[in-house]
Each structure stands twice: as structure tokens, then as C-alpha cells.
């Protein structure tokens, strides 16, 4: 076996081993800090391996290695595989996951310093489980293993959102996230079934007709909508912010929610054949991008802003993939993973300092948290698409692709989103770091080294990854050439305009009518109208058949069973009367039965 494959297997085995170790040795888990350090060391090893693999692939981008074995057979036919598949896509994604996971684990050490040892150990057990599950998903040789990883990260997400489960809001949010994504995952299972029946396997490039591809891609996309928080299944993501902030950075911004995008990139042979599904993706992605961006402008909770921003950016990626830009969608996934993780971790440092998520408890923090503020501002600029920073390049690829596809609605929505994004990020920066200092901000304390180092690490790709778009594209086997068209310039103008407008409104207090204009949006966005909509969908679509089934079960099935039970008991009581206790009767029975037997024997 090639050492590369061995190394890839190690990226699965090491975090899995950690999880098992913490799981079966509660003594170790309950020590807290030692367990955390062990977990971070494991993540460091995984990071090292991922870096080595990535470097190897940069030198030889077209290489593809695989070791896999069939574990699932249907009627003697091999079906599902388990193993690792290494190519440019999986190796680069592995590095993204490993980097962010490492940063987040290290950051958590400082962020959760007040956590009791028991809780800390539990947290790092989940973190290790997540790293294993995500790597399992990323390295999957076919859709079946991806599905396993997909469900495992979903389970870890549930565990980590509900990490502070004594808090009712956290417990509820965890359940909500689980239920919504599970509902969507039914699409993945159905898609896998259709794929298996149609092609006899779960391969990425299964040979299927375009019509089947539409069905499979459509079903898979339902799951993507759940995992990657696309309208109208995005409702779980804002609530998921109840989890610890580093968790939000890792799962609910950088990696897990991007798994849906990764699925589309991996299953490109299926999706590229499904023209209608891709068109739908372009529309839905663009709509989600705009919709979430509008809501983000009125949030007062720093994590909620970032959560809606994540929805919005995932919409960007989906829209780009729908328009046919594999590279654009995937590259934006990568840059977004870094700068959004940076934003979340920086926000985490702020929250850690002021013990609150609300803007009212922040303000003027630039003086107190200089480095954090600089990191956050760079992340915001990258997200806003300021030229030269990473986000600009990847966003531009998507916009160009959507432009080329001729979808004017999507292009318009995405351009508007670009402006809004710049606007709400400026608003966030202003409300957090500039202006009047709030009471709790005055007592803010700076982060420790374990929290600043991850920010520093993430700052590098946030700024510079865009410059590496060329080598990155070679991993895809696609040419990349930077060029600026009309769309690009418009996007830059809108981005800068958004920043300017944001500063005017929130920094200088001009144009005071604008925030008032947003009032109705804010009321609508913060009301539970989406939740209620789903509630009624659930009640009509889900509970009605359930009630009918319950009625049938209670009165028909149970009735039948109760009747049989009653009959059994009555029969027993009647038969019991044969047992009179008189030995004469017993002897009648013996001789009677013997006579019958003998008669039968004579007859035969």
C-alpha cells in the first residue's frame, strides 16, 4: 500500500481512536485538560498529514489513489464501499477541514477555560468524533460512505449544539437542527436507493440516464438544502448558534454545512447531467443568498449575523455550482471556510471578553482587543469582496459563471447580495469595535495565546488564498485565468458602496431613515413565521397520516390483538375446567385417548 494511502487512513484512525479512548476511559475524559491536549495533538498530526498530502498533490495534481473494500452486497452483487479515495478535491478539502479543526480545537482550549473538566473532556470527545466523521465524508470512495460520514457529522452537530444541554434553548436548538436535517436527509437515502437500483452501485460516476440523473440529483439536493441551510430548510442554522462559538466556526460555518456543497462537487457526473435540477439550484441559491443577506442586516446578535451570512454565502456556492462553475463553487467553499472561521473565532474572542452576544454589550472594543479587531476586519473585508483578498477571487468566479449562464435573476440577486454583505459586515464591525463603549465592554479582557494563534493562522489564507487560485485550479484539472469583466467591476463597486453606506449609516449616524426602513424586515425576520410555516406543514402533511395510522393501530390492530388475547384467556379458563382434580376423570382421559390411538392404528 502506498504511504500516501496509509497516511490517509491514519487521518481516520487517529481521531477515531481518540474518540474511542475518551469513550471507554472515563477517567481520562474527566480530567479535562489532558484529554483536550491529547485531542489537539491528534488534530495536529492529522493537520500534518493533510499538509503533506496536499503538497504531494500540488506537485502531481492529476493523481488519483484509492483503497476500498466492498462491505455491502445486495443479492450477491457488491454495492457499498468503504475506504479512502484521494484526488485533488478530497486532498484539498482534507486540508481545509484539518486546518480549521486544528484552529478551532486550540481556540476552544481558551474559550472553554471556565468549563468544568468533565464537560471539557466531553467537548473534546465530540470534537474528535467530528474530525473522524468529517474526514470519513471527505475521503469517501463512493456515495454510501459519504452518507455514513454525513449522518455522523449530523449526529456530532446535534451533540455539540446541545453541548450546554441544561440550557433549554440549547437543547431545543439541537433537536431542531437534528430534526430538520434528518428530514432533509430522507432525500439522500431515497437518492441512494434510486441510484443503487438504476446503476447497481453508489459510484460518483454511476452510468445513468439523464432522466434518472434528474431524479437522483433532485433527491440528493433535498439533503443538501438541509445540510447547507438553503431556503426554506435554513431555519435550523440560526438556532444552532446556541452551541459554543468555536463549534459554530467549525461545524456551522466552515466545514459541516459546506458538506452539501462538497457532495455536489463530488457527484458532479450526476449533477452535470441533471440540467433542470441545476437550474433550480441557481435560482434557489441566489434567492437564499439575497434572502439571508437581508435578514443579516437587522440582526442584533453578532453570531446571528454571521449565521445568516453563512446561509447567504452557501447560497452563493450553490448558485455557482448550478450555473456550472465547479471551480467557483468549490473555491468559494474553501475561502469561505477560512474567512468565516476567522470571523466566528474573532467573534468568539469578543463574546469571551464581554460575556454576551448582543451588540448592545459591545462597542468601542477596538482599543481593548486590537488584534481581534484587526482579524475581524480583515475577515469582513474578505467576505465583502474587497479586491486582493481571498473572498473577492472566489466570488468573482461565481458571478462570472452565473453571468455566462444567462440567468439574469440570479445574477441580479447575487450582485445585490454582494452589496448587502459589505453593508451588514460594516455594520457589525462598527457596532462591535467602534463607537461608544458599553458597560460590559469596559471590563473586557484580551484573549490568551491559545486564542490568538488560531486567528493568526486563519488570517493568512483569508488574505492570501485568492492569489493561489491558479495552483488551486490545477487540482481540478481546470485552467484558471484571472480576468475582470463588467460583472467584476460592478461587484467591486457595490462592495465598496456597501461599506461606505454602512459606515455612513452606523458609523456617522447619517441617513437615519435607512435603519427605520429596515424595521419591518427586522420584525418579520425575528418573528417565528418560518417556524410556524413548517409547523403547519408538519401538522398537515405529517400528523394527519400519523393520526390516521394511530387510529387504525388503536382500534383495528389493537382491537384484533385484544380480541385474540381475550380469546386465549377465555379458552385457557375453559380448558382448565377439564382439570377436575378427580383421578377418575384423569383415567377416563388416559384410556379414552389410548383407545382412540389404538383405533387409529388399527384403521391404518
Amino acid at each position: 500500500m502506498s504511504p500516501l494511502l496509509m497516511a490517509a487512513l491514519a487521518t481516520l484512525a487517529i481521531p477515531a481512536g481518540m474518540t474511542l479512548l475518551f469513550g471507554v476511559v472515563p477517567m481520562l475524559r474527566r480530567t479535562g485538560k489532558p484529554a483536550a491536549i491529547l485531542s489537539i495533538l491528534a488534530a495536529t498530526t492529522v493537520l500534518g498529514i493533510a499538509g503533506w498530502l496536499f503538497a504531494t498533490w500540488l506537485g502531481n495534481p492529476t493523481e488519483s489513489l484509492q483503497i476500498a473494500t466492498y462491505w455491502l452486497t445486495m443479492g450477491g452483487q457488491p454495492l457499498g464501499q468503504v475506504g479512502v479515495h484521494l484526488d485533488g478535491i478530497s486532498v484539498s478539502m482534507l486540508l481545509v477541514v484539518a486546518t480549521v479543526a486544528w484552529c478551532v480545537q486550540l481556540f476552544s482550549l481558551g474559550y472553554l477555560s471556565d468549563e468544568p473538566p468533565n464537560g471539557l473532556g466531553r467537548y473534546f470527545t465530540y470534537q474528535s468524533l467530528f474530525l473522524f466523521s468529517m474526514n470519513l465524508l471527505v475521503l469517501a470512495p463512493d456515495l454510501m460512505q459519504l452518507f455514513i460520514g454525513w449522518e455522523l457529522v449530523g449526529a456530532t452537530s446535534y451533540l455539540l449544539i446541545g453541548f450546554w444541554y441544561p440550557k433549554p434553548a440549547a437543547a431545543k436548538a439541537a433537536i431542531k437542527a437534528f430534526v430538520v436535517t434528518k428530514f432533509a436527509d430522507s432525500g439522500l437515502i431515497l437518492g441512494l436507493m434510486v441510484l443503487a437500483v438504476a446503476s447497481g452501485g453508489f459510484a460518483w460516476d454511476a452510468p445513468i440516464t439523464p432522466a434518472t440523473a434528474e431524479i437522483v440529483a433532485g433527491l440528493l439536493f433535498v439533503a443538501v438544502m438541509g445540510k447547507s441551510a438553503q431556503f426554506p430548510l435554513h431555519i435550523w442554522l440560526p438556532d444552532a448558534m446556541q452551541g459554543p462559538t468555536p463549534v459554530s466556526a467549525l461545524l456551522h460555518a466552515a466545514t459541516m454545512v459546506a458538506a452539501g456543497v462538497y457532495l455536489i462537487v463530488r457527484a458532479d457526473p450526476i449533477f452535470s447531467a441533471a440540467v433542470h435540477v441545476r437550474e433550480f439550484m441557481t435560482y434557489l441559491g441566489a434567492f437564499t443568498a439575497l434572502f439571508a443577506a437581508i435578514i443579516a442586516t437587522v440582526q442584533t446578535d453578532i453570531k446571528k449575523v454571521l449565521a445568516y451570512s453563512t446561509c447567504s454565502q452557501l447560497g452563493y456556492m450553490i448558485s455557482g455550482l448550478g450555473a456550472g462553475s465547479l471551480l467557483g463553487g468549490y473555491f468559494h467553499l474553501t475561502t469561505h471556510a477560512f474567512f468565516k472561521a476567522l470571523l466566528f473565532l474573532a467573534a468568539g474572542a469578543v463574546i469571551h471578553a464581554v460575556h454576551s452576544n448582543e451588540f448592545t454589550d459591545m462597542g468601542g472594543l477596538f482599543k481593548k482587543l486590537k488584534f481581534v479587531a484587526i482579524a475581524f476586519i480583515f475577515g469582513s473585508l474578505s467576505l465583502a469582496g474587497v479586491p486582493g483578498l481571498a473572498g473577492f477571487y472566489s466570488k468573482d468566479l461565481i458571478l462570472e459563471a452565473v453571468h455566462e449562464s444567462g440567468n439574469h435573476f440570479a445574477l441580479f440577486a447575487l450582485l445585490l447580495t454582494a452589496g448587502l454583505t459589505a453593508f451588514y459586515m460594516t455594520r457589525t464591525v462598527v457596532k462591535t469595535f467602534l463607537g461608544q463603549m458599553s458597560h460590559s465592554a469596559e471590563h473586557a479582557h484580551g484573549p490568551g495565546p491559545s486564542m490568538t494563534l488560531p486567528l493568526l493562522v486563519l488570517l493568512v489564507p483569508t488574505i492570501a488564498l485568492g492569489w493561489a487560485a491558479g495552483p488551486f485550479a490545477t487540482l481540478f484539472g481546470k485552467p484558471y485565468e484571472f480576468h475582470m469583466g463588467l460583472v467584476g467591476y460592478t461587484a467591486i463597486a457595490l462592495g465598496l458602496g456597501g461599506i461606505a453606506l454602512g459606515y455612513l449609516v452606523y458609523g456617522l449616524g447619517a441617513l437615519a431613515f435607512l435603519p427605520r426602513l429596515f424595521k419591518p424586515v427586522a420584525t418579520l425576520a425575528n418573528s417565528s413565521v418560518m417556524d410556524e410555516l413548517w409547523q403547519s406543514v408538519y401538522e398537515i402533511g405529517g400528523q394527519t397520516p400519523s393520526r390516521a395510522a394511530a387510529w387504525t393501530d388503536r382500534y383495528i390492530v389493537d382491537g384484533l390483538m385484544n380480541f385474540i388475547g381475550w380469546l386465549t384467556i377465555v379458552l385457557g379458563q375453559q380448558l382448565r375446567k377439564l382439570q377436575t382434580g378427580d383421578v377418575q376423570d384423569y383415567l377416563y382421559a388416559v384410556f379414552g385417548a389410548a383407545a382412540l390411538l389404538a383405533l387409529f392404528g388399527g384403521w391404518r
Binding site: 383415567l587 388416559v590 384410556f591 389404538a598 392404528g601 391404518r604
Partner: protein, 474 residues
């Protein structure tokens, strides 16, 4: 004939000598030392069990009148184990209740065991009948052992057993006499001609009636509940399994060796008896409130399942019957010993006596649960495999309808078995404190528990031993 020719009969001879030895020791020992007799019996039985692996027991006696092989040895081991467990379980009870009659108790038990152990090897009717009665007659006495000393109904129970036993023996002897009269020989191999006449079939079915009494097949089962309820529980623990094992051995050797050509006559009847047995056993068990009566009907129902293996026929079916019997020994004796332990604590023998057992004696309750699960056939205790294998055997023999019926009644059986578990685990009891369990009794229960759980986890060795044992039958 030299003494060495008796080598294959060694296990029976040891037990017969042991019976005499116990009787002799009883004569010379002081009354205060009599509990030693129980230990002596247990030691001899344990030794005999070990000896069954060490002694060469293969071979023929008297030119084929008796055949020692894996079949007879396997069954002997099962019966001796049952005897050993019953002796251990009853040791303290016997010493306390009948301090002056301990010697006779163990002597009778050992004589009965001698008959049982020798029964499976018999290939000739006279020897067969002698062994059959040697097994049966001491049991009549044992069932009546309590006389009237605790106000219950032992004499009545024993009398019923004796009367119905006598009637059945009459039937058996009548059938045997007919066969011998027609064949002019009493050897199994020569008993039934290749083309039997109607009278042969009549004789065969009369023999079947006699066997059916011994193993408690409905409608020959009516003595079972009354006798179980009235007899001392350690006796019942023995009585409920060991004669049954012997009865099945007898059934197999007579019907499979001597009467394969009569299968068209006895198989349909056996089929009918299985149906009746399952229905009666399972349904009448439901309304029972007395544990020993419940176990009596449960035993009737279990016999239905064991017969299913027999009906499954051929080597596999017979082997699975053996496997079932072995697992049944552990679960059933275990159950009776727990009933005994609870009754000894002064709580009575009703289902309600078990109330709150899980709180009072969690380990005892756990053992109880395992025995119940095994009897009900729940994975993965021994009884599950037993039911699974006899169903497989019946299915292979084309008796799909019996598998269906058996599965159906296994569900019904869950009701009353879990009813007992419910008493122990859910119901509350006013009485506090653990149920006192004497050492030897605890040892016997632990062995039963290990057997039940162990064979559930790893049934293979016993399955293979049973498959090998059946080779000896043909």
C-alpha cells in the same frame, strides 16, 4: 460372560452400587451425621459424571441387548446432571424435614437414576421394561415422601401419580406383549416386520400412550399439575426433567429403531398429540396462580416443542431434541429451585410470592429472569437456540404448519412467563430483606444459570455433541 463384558453398563452399575452404599451407610451412621448422606450422593453423582468421560462405555452387552455408545452416554450425562442439581438443591430441605429418612430418599433417587441411565441403551423389550419401571417406581415413593407432615396434599398427589402410572404401564405392557407375541422375539430389530399388519399399529400406539404418560403429553398429562403441586419441590425439580429425558430416550429408541416401518401409523398421531399438547399446555398455563402448577403446564407446553424435534425426524431432528432437553434441564430445574428457595423463606408457592424479588434479592431475580427467558425462547439464552433448532428441524421435515403453530404459542407463552418476571421485577412487596439461600442450593442455581447463559452464548459444542450422539441411535 465375564465381568469385563459389563463394561458398557458401568454408569448404571456405579449408580446401583451407590444406592446400596447409601443405604448401608445410613444403617451405621448416627442420626446427627445423616446430612452427610446427601453430600455423599452428590459426590458420587459428580464422580459418575466425570467418569462418563473417563471410562470406556462403548460396546454391546449380551449380543446387542444393550448398546453403549455416544447416544446412551450423552443422555446419561444429562440425567446425572439433573440428579446432581436436584440433590444439591434439596440437600438442606431433606435434612431438615425428614432427618431420619434421608438415606431412603437418596437411595430411591439413585435407583430411579439407575433405571434412567440404563434405559437409552436398551435394544430389547424385557430389559427396556425393567429399566422403565426401575425408573418409575421409586418416583412414586418420592412423590409421596412428605406423607402428611406439612398439611398439604402429598398423598393425594402421589396416589394420582401411582394410579395413572399404573394405567399407563398397563397400556405399555399390553402393547409390548402384543408385539412380542406376534414377532416371537423381543429384540427391537426383530419386533416389527417389514410389512406390518394392523395389530402392529395398534400395539405401537398403545406403547405411544405409555410413553406419553411419562413425558406428560396431553391428554395423558393430567397427573402433572396435581403431582407437581403436591410433591416436595426438590423432588419435583428432579421429577420434572429426568424422567422426561428418559421418556424421550425411550420414545426415540422404540419408535425410531424398532418401528420405522410403522411411521404411517404413529406419525399422524404424534402430530395430533403435539398440537393438543401445545394448545392445552400453553392455554391452561395462563390462568394459573400457583407457581408449581404454572410450571407444570409450562412443562406440558415444552414437551410439545421437544416432540416437534422428534417429529422433525431423521438425525437432525433427534439431535435437536437432545439439545432442547439439555437446555430444558438447566432452565427448568433452575426455576423450581428458585421457587423452592422462595418457599423455604416462608413466602409460599404462588406467583405473588415472588413480588419484589428484584429488590430483595437482585441476583436471584436475575437468575429467575434468565430461566424464564430461556423457557420462553428469547435470544440469546439457551432456550432460544433450542426452539430455533427444533423449528428448523420441523421445517426441514416439511412441517411448516407446526413451526407456525409453535411460534404462535411461543408468543402466548411469553404472556405467562413474563407474568412471573413482572411479579419479581415490577410488583412491590411488603417484605424486606433478601431471601435466604442455603449454600448447596445457591450452587445448584448458579450452575443452572451458567448453563442457561453459557449455552445461549455458545451453543455450538453441545449441538455438535448432540449430533454425534444421534449417530449412536442408528
Amino acid at each position: 460372560m465375564s465381568l469385563a463384558d459389563l463394561q458398557p453398563l458401568m454408569l448404571g452399575l456405579i449408580l446401583a452400587c451407590a444406592a446400596l452404599l447409601v443405604l448401608l451407610v445410613d444403617l451405621v451412621i448416627k442420626p446427627s451425621g445423616k446430612p452427610i448422606l446427601g453430600w455423599l450422593t452428590a459426590a458420587i453423582l459428580a464422580g459418575t459424571l466425570v467418569a462418563s468421560w473417563l471410562l470406556p462405555l462403548e460396546g454391546e452387552v449380551q449380543a446387542g441387548v444393550w448398546q453403549g455408545n455416544l447416544w446412551s452416554t450423552f443422555l446419561a450425562r444429562v440425567m446425572i446432571s439433573a440428579g446432581l442439581l436436584a440433590v444439591l438443591g434439596g440437600l438442606d430441605y431433606v435434612a431438615r424435614v425428614w432427618p431420619y429418612r434421608q438415606g431412603e430418599f437418596y437411595t430411591l433417587l439413585l435407583f430411579s437414576l439407575t433405571g434412567m441411565v440404563l434405559l437409552p441403551g436398551c435394544r430389547e423389550l424385557a430389559a427396556f421394561v425393567v429399566c422403565f419401571e426401575l425408573m418409575g417406581i421409586p418416583i412414586y415413593v418420592l412423590a409421596a415422601y412428605s406423607k402428611n407432615d406439612n398439611g398439604k396434599k402429598p398423598p393425594e398427589a402421589a396416589l394420582k401419580l401411582l394410579l395413572i402410572g399404573a394405567a399407563s404401564t398397563a397400556l405399555t405392557f399390553f402393547g409390548a406383549a402384543l408385539l412380542v407375541g406376534m414377532a416371537g422375539s423381543s429384540r427391537f430389530a426383530e419386533l416389527v416386520p417389514y410389512e406390518p399388519g394392523p395389530l402392529h399399529a395398534v400395539a405401537a400406539l398403545l406403547l405411544l400412550a405409555g410413553m406419553a404418560f411419562k413425558i406428560g403429553v396431553a391428554p395423558f398429562h393430567m397427573w402433572v399439575p396435581d403431582t407437581y403441586e403436591g410433591s416436595p419441590t426438590p423432588v419435583v425439580a428432579f421429577l420434572s426433567v429426568a424422567p422426561k429425558v428418559a421418556g424421550f430416550a425411550a420414545l426415540s429408541s422404540i419408535f425410531l429403531i424398532a418401528m420405522p416401518t410403522l411411521a404411517h401409523a404413529w406419525r399422524p398421531m404424534l402430530w395430533l398429540l403435539v398440537v393438543v399438547t401445545m394448545v392445552v399446555g400453553n392455554l391452561v398455563a395462563i390462568p394459573q396462580t400457583n407457581l408449581k402448577r404454572l410450571m407444570a403446564f409450562s412443562g406440558v407446553a415444552q414437551v410439545g416443542y421437544i416432540l416437534l424435534g422428534f417429529l422433525g425426524g431423521a438425525e437432525f431432528g433427534a439431535a435437536m431434541m437432545l439439545f432442547y432437553l439439555a437446555t430444558y434441564v438447566f432452565a427448568n430445574i433452575g426455576m423450581f429451585l428458585i421457587v423452592h428457595a422462595v418457599a423455604e423463606a416462608g413466602e409460599g408457592e404462588d406467583i405473588v410470592s415472588l413480588n419484589g424479588l428484584a429488590r430483595r434479592s437482585p441476583w436471584l431475580a436475575l437468575a429467575l429472569l434468565m430461566f424464564l427467558l430461556s423457557l420462553a425462547g428469547i435470544p440469546f439464552v439457551a432456550g432460544f437456540w433450542a426452539k430455533f433448532y427444533v423449528f428448523t428441524a420441523a421445517w426441514r421435515a416439511g412441517h411448516g404448519e407446526m413451526v407456525l403453530l409453535g411460534a404462535l404459542f411461543a408468543t402466548v407463552a411469553l404472556f405467562y412467563y413474563l407474568g412471573v418476571a413482572r411479579a419479581a421485577f415490577v410488583n412491590k412487596s411488603a417484605i424486606e430483606g433478601p431471601v435466604p439461600v442455603k449454600r448447596p442450593l445457591a450452587l445448584a442455581i448458579v450452575v443452572c444459570l451458567l448453563g442457561t447463559v453459557g449455552l445461549g452464548a455458545w451453543p455450538n459444542p453441545l449441538v455438535e455433541a448432540a449430533l454425534a450422539a444421534v449417530q449412536g441411535l442408528y
